[in-house]
């Protein structure tokens, strides 16, 4: 890159900051003085101002009048009509929360089954010997 280009880059960088209001105090005054007294800076400043003016003066492009209709139609089509409308319970509550609640529910059920006298999880507990119906009481003593 030549020295001229580097210098031009630096001038444009400074002027760019100056036009954006990003320079303060002495630095801003220094650039203002250069624009006033130096032809290169003056010309670069004028060109940048014109360029920015032209850019900000570009006409605003407007979306077509049917734009909103087009977008909602696309959403309806892509979601097969399921996108809009109030969400289901599963959509509103995070999946993790639903899983946690389900696990907690299973633990509670399991506890009650274990704690119950007739629960199916009671199998491992020692049962009291039955008072009647044992082989000994049924078989007559000789």
């Amino acid at each position: 890159m030549s020295d001229d280009t580097t210098e031009e880059d630096e001038i444009v960088a400074k002027l760019s900051d100056y036009l954006d209001g990003a320079l303060k105090g002495a630095e801003r005054d220094d650039v203002a003085a250069k624009i006033e007294g130096d032809d290169v800076w003056k010309r670069a400043h004028a060109e940048l101002v014109e360029t920015r003016k032209a850019l900000s003066g570009l006409r605003k492009a407007h979306a077509p009048p049917s734009f909103a209709q087009d977008v909602t139609s696309t959403i309806h089509t892509r979601s097969a009509g399921r996108f809009f409308g109030r969400r289901t319970f599963g959509d509103r509550v995070p999946f993790g929360a639903l899983v946690a609640i389900a696990v907690l529910g299973l633990v509670v059920i399991a506890y009650f089954m274990w704690a119950s006298q007739t629960g199916s999880l009671e199998g491992h507990r020692e049962r009291a010997p039955r008072s009647s119906g044992s082989a000994e009481s049924v078989v007559p003593k000789p």
């Binding site: 940048l48 920015r52 492009a61 977008v71």
Partner: protein, 193 residues
């Protein structure tokens, strides 16, 4: 009357509930600005319209991921810029250099595609249309990263801080890209401005 922040919150709540009317209100409020960005970034009306549609569809689909840590418009413009970047890359891959539509949209401004120009003498109108075409071509020839900042700053008049938020870039990088973009534009337009 509710303040703007409250109105926006209420709209966001309705959007999260997938209220179709809220979606339409959102589109009506932002469609022209989003479309202007996509049009200036892509330089082609059909592409701009397609990308602007995708922007709103993305917003609708991912509204739950918007945490309200920034302004809604900042988030919306971030989605817009990302979609534009993706489309620019896609078009570059397809070597799509066809910018014929640019001529139509810049010279046929009265057909409703672009805001009707103010009444002007024929020479001035022609000069204005030529300048607009020149500018749009100059923007289109910028590197994508330079194009983003110059469109947001000089066309859309957003602040450097907003651009930093939208692009997720530090202040210095945004400014340096802006300098380079303006330098490039100045060189291209030197004989015309």
């Amino acid at each position: 009357m509710l303040p703007a922040v409250e109105l926006e919150r209420s709209l966001l709540r309705r959007l999260r509930d997938r209220d179709e009317r809220a979606f339409r209100e959102l589109i009506e409020a932002h469609r022209d600005r989003v479309f202007n960005i996509t049009f200036r970034m892509l330089g082609n009306r059909a592409e701009a319209e397609d990308v602007a549609q995708e922007v709103f569809i993305t917003v609708f689909k991912s509204i739950d991921s918007f945490r309200e840590e920034s302004k809604f418009s900042t988030w919306l413009y971030r989605v817009t810029v990302n979609h534009c970047k993706n489309r620019i890359k896609y078009l570059a891959r397809r070597h799509d250099r066809d910018r014929d539509e640019l001529d139509d949209t810049t010279t046929n401004g009265v057909n409703g595609t672009i805001g009707a120009p103010p009444p002007a003498a024929p020479d001035h109108a022609l000069a204005g249309a030529q300048m607009e075409k020149l500018l749009q071509e100059a923007i289109a020839n910028l590197e994508e990263e330079h194009r983003v900042v110059v469109v947001l700053r000089d066309v859309e008049d957003l602040s450097i801080e907003e651009i930093c938020e939208i692009t997720d870039l530090p202040d210095g990088t945004v400014k340096s890209r802006l300098h380079r973009a303006r330098l490039a534009l100045r060189k291209k337009l030197q004989r015309h401005v």
